[in-house]
Amino acid sequence: MRYDSATIASLVEPDRVHRNLYIDPALFDLEMERIFGHAWIYVGHESQVKNPGDYVTTAIGKQPVVMSRDAQGKIHLLLNRCGHRGAKVVGDREGNVKLFRCCYHGWTFKPDGSLAGIPMASGYEDTRLDMKDPKYGMCKVPRMEIYRGFVFGSMSPTGPGLVEYLGDAATSIDNMVERAPEGRLEVVGGCFRAVFRANWKIFLENLNDTMHPMVVHESSVKAGEIWAKQHLPEGAPDPLPVRFTRNNGFPYAFWEKLTLRGHKNGHSYMGGIFPPRRTDPVFLSYVEAMEKSYGKDKTEEILSVDRHNTIYYPNVSFQSGYQQVRVIRPVSVDRTQMDVYAFKLIGAPDEFYRHTLIYSNMVNSPSSIVMTDDHEAYNRVQEGLVAQANDWISLDRDAGRDTREGDWLSSTGTSEMPMRNQYQAWARYMTQEA
């Protein structure tokens, strides 16, 4: 089925969306074109290509992308395709090169994608081939912008700039960066690559869905509670693994009181669910380092920004308190890959990063006792939507109660506002033919 804009618009209502959004391959292809082909897509962090010649492979929707740093230290986003006959140039995940070299006929490319050399170039005299024509190089992703070290790309040559796009949802990124005593972050070592059998939008819905944790995560909530009851003296502070699991079990009243804000471009964030100030020695020595850098007040100001997941529509989520960044790549209408990165706060004590990793391993690993339940829930939605029972998916919770201030919608912490907000953005993108 081919969709015209009117049809597409009719699939999204203020308080519900049509089931086809999740299961129709034709809509998925359109999304790759109109959303992932236009919006700012998160591709990586500067620190993944520290030195001249460093590169990593990443993606924009289904487009294979290379992020590289040239000799002058400038970062570039290239489509991973040779200008000759189209071979994927970079096969591995990361590395360092002077020149990229295509495996097929040995054309070479500078880290900025420009064509550096062709064996026996004489064969191209008086032909259409022009070595300066970027088409014969590794083509650049039309636009790239970097916000405080985080690299975004857009497949569209035109459109709002990154800063305008992020709007002041960017404050979550700001806060994550400022949480580093030296104001710099770094990706160390590997990342997680998880796959679930569900549409990518189901993941975005989940990130600020505060009605799911106590249900989906009940078994790990209980694991934390039961373990604590078995092993800890009454009223002892929760060790991190207990906190990371049992907090999902907070009463509804807690979640209802959380801040929940949605930005007009589809972004949104929710308030924090972990105590912003911990009392363990590791955290205290971290605060010390912070105060050394920023002074008491500024530190206080930074650490009091207490947010859990911040979504930058359509493909990334930041969790600043434990420095987690989750990036998705849609694979097909019913399959999505999620990459999870843990960031190191430069200037924080080494032990502090250990805690970040404990969070990653326990909460965001493919073998996590927490996240596997989220993924199973996504899969269940995809399985259930096969049923034709009803063409509509409900987004009714607290519908009609959102309050708008400027670019933002606010609501009670358990509202489905963030999803309604996402689908308004979705409809905007999807009805832009062009």
């Binding site: 160390v188 070592g189 590997g190 990342c191 997680f192 690559r193 998880a194 796959v195 679930f196 059998r197 989906v216 009940e218 078994s219 790990s220 209980k222 694991a223 934390g224 039961i226 373990w227 092993h231 060790p239 693994p241 207990v242 699991t245 890959q337 999870v340 843990a342 250990r354 990793l357 990653s360 391993n361 326990m362 690993s365 493919p366 073998s367 996590s368 006792i369 996240m371 596997t372 339940d373 993924h375 199973e376």
Partner: protein
């Protein structure tokens, strides 16, 4: 001399087979009882990963987290498991690994020997099967007339591949 080496390896094989049987039969308490109180269970996310503290791991669990995972998996509301996961472990190529200590990731477990084996693990869930394979290393501590596992490390050949959720211990 060789005979005794041989005898040892038989006893060690019996021990590892027992561990695998307890995993395949989901007898978690008995399984955990094979581990020392200061045990560490590690499945790296990078091939030849140096340590569990500088980069993420699929599993990097002390006994506390192992206990939590068991409580969770056996909890009636562990709905990810309402279609139960089933596993079948082949423990192959069991060898004493004289150089095994080097791969402890700096955790320096107290152990009397390191055993290296090949793990082939077939997993079934819903209607699909998938295969895991790689090198398993057990740090064994002699306790009276039996062994305990002070540390276990499994290097999966697909450790860094995109993966669907893994519920159980490997």
């Amino acid at each position: 001399m060789l005979a005794s080496a041989d005898t040892d390896i038989r006893a060690i094989e019996r021990f590892l087979y027992r561990e695998a049987a307890l995993l395949d039969e989901a007898r978690w308490e008995e399984w955990l009882a094979l581990y020392t109180d200061d045990c560490f269970y590690w499945v790296p996310s990078v091939m030849g990963q140096k340590d569990p503290v500088e980069t993420v791991s699929l599993y990097a669990e002390d006994r506390m987290r192992m206990e939590m995972r068991i409580i969770r998996v056996t909890h009636p509301r562990a709905f990810s498991s309402d279609m139960p996961v089933r596993m079948s472990h082949v423990v192959g190529n069991v060898m004493i690994d004289p150089d095994g200590a080097a791969s402890d990731g700096g955790t320096n477990p107290r152990a009397d020997l390191v055993v290296r084996s090949t793990a082939h693990i077939l997993e079934f869930r819903k209607e699909d099967q998938r295969m895991f394979g790689g090198i398993a290393r057990h740090w064994l501590r002699c306790t009276g007339n039996d062994w305990k596992i002070a540390m276990k490390r499994i290097d999966l050949i697909n450790c860094d591949a995109p993966m669907e959720g893994i519920q159980l211990f490997l």
